[in-house]
């Protein structure tokens, strides 16, 4: 069964996975830079992490090495922890300025 999945992943050439991951990663990064809504920014961060997960899984299947797949679990865990903290900071910010627009954050300058 597992072998079947690995073979299925290997049917698609590695380059395609790399390109797809880069594409997703760039969409995520562009979203973080250009979107103003904080919730969307958090989603874009998640997209960046998940594109890396996809890439690691593809590499893992092509190298026949399970370590990267274990790393994927670590990344999922860390991403969850990070988003938890991010959302609570967001709630704190919402209480202070009643908005989730990042343009509100402009008082520290110099």
């Amino acid at each position: 069964m597992e072998e079947g999945i690995i073979t299925a992943i290997r049917i698609v050439p590695l380059e395609h996975y790399i390109l797809l991951s880069f594409l997703l990663f760039s969409i995520g990064a562009a979203g973080v830079v250009f979107r103003r809504n904080t919730i969307i920014i958090l989603m874009c961060l998640e997209l960046m992490f998940n594109s890396v997960n996809l890439l690691l899984t593809a590499f893992s299947a092509h190298h026949s090495d399970p370590r990267a797949q274990v790393f994927v679990f670590f990344i999922m865990l860390v991403a969850a922890a990070e988003v938890t903290v991010g959302l609570s900071i967001l709630v704190m910010m919402k209480r202070n300025v009643d908005s989730v627009d990042v343009n509100q954050l402009n008082r520290l300058k110099g």
Binding site: V85, G86, I89
Partner: protein, 471 residues
Amino acid sequence: MRRCNNSFQAYRYTEMSVLVLLSVLGVVLLYLGLFNNRGAIAGVGIAGLLAAFVLVAADWHLESPLFNGIIQFDTYARSFSLVMIVVTVLLFLFGIDYYAKVKENVAEQYALMVFSLIGGLLICSFTNLVVLFLGIEILSIPLYILAGGKRDSFRSGEAAFKYFLQGSFASGFLLMGLALIYGATASFDLAAIEAFSTALVGGQDMIFLLGLFLTIAGVAFKVAAVPFHFWSPDVYEGAPTLITAFMSTVVKTAAFAAFYRLIANLQLPGAVETMLVVMTICTLFLGNIVALRQTQFKRLMAYSSIAHTGFLLLAFLGTDARTPEVLFYYLGTYAMATVGLFIVLTLAKRAALGDENIRIFRGLFQSNPWIAVATLLMLLSLAGIPLTAGFVAKYRVFVISLTQGYLWTTVVAVVMAIVGIYYYILVVREAFTAQEQESKPIVVAPLNWLVISICGAAVVVLGVMPGLLRM
């Protein structure tokens, strides 16, 4: 079999116990907060950290791979761990006074600092890129929370959010870099990657090259090297002062230890070398020049911190056997001076009712001559005036970069070091100017006095006898 046994012994008695001890310490601190034992929190924290110090120092020169060889607690890692633990103890001593008036969530602040410290210990001892990533996240995630420690302050919230956003963004790039390095080398193990880079010399591997670029960018973010420094002035200014001090000392030490560990034995491709040189020059230039026009002390310290990042990066260029030693000395003495200065800032800021302009130091010499002298010594050390530790540190960095043949980079660095003296002297001038109108005097609690004196004395003693602080 016997070897296996030995490593198991080491596994049981040394750094494993440090990591466990610190994790338990953090939980204990949280419980103390839960049951309202406010008086005990800092005391227990300091006792725990001292125990951790003893555990790290006890097996000096003992190298033991841990967790199937993904962590190696060697002399290098131990030295940096000791510096981080000592600085955290000093900050906890400062915390007793700093948090005296805060009503709630004090235990959480201490506990999060301890958790962050664990991340710091992990990244200065990693031999596997997975641990590098996990360590950086364990170091950072508590800091995102700590930066927003003042819940009703808008600036603190803004600092927390900016730090979180840019930190996660950088983590994304770091991860992408690690994934690409794995794709090229089929391993997360640092030794295997070093072997791969040695075999590659002269050849081309785009995936590996891109991976290195992104990984170095991710780590450079943590040390606030230009062009990945945008978070640092804002976060330094907005975060509570104690946390700012923690970020500019413990976190910086950990991040630099990790950075050097990552690239020390890699055969860096030419493009990456060039990237490091450009980064160094930009960091030196921007940090020092922008610091010249700062009037807020915390922002000044942020740019000064960026400038020091530049000097530290200078020691990275080329592979020199003395680099770890120099990094260790530089970061240790820099941390001492910075901790003391941030404590003085807190006291002056309190007397000036929250103002952070460097004017608030005015009259310091009148009211507290000894504190003013200590401040002078710490500022001179950061500026790199002879007879202070800062001078020895900069001198050693310049010697390394010259022997590695980076003549022009070194010239830029020396010029920038001279430019840097100016903005430190500005602060010194304020501290030694008499105050015209009467205002609240600067009150120094005994513990703070002790910590400032330790820091002030340390930079001179280490400057005169540099041999005292070595790996």
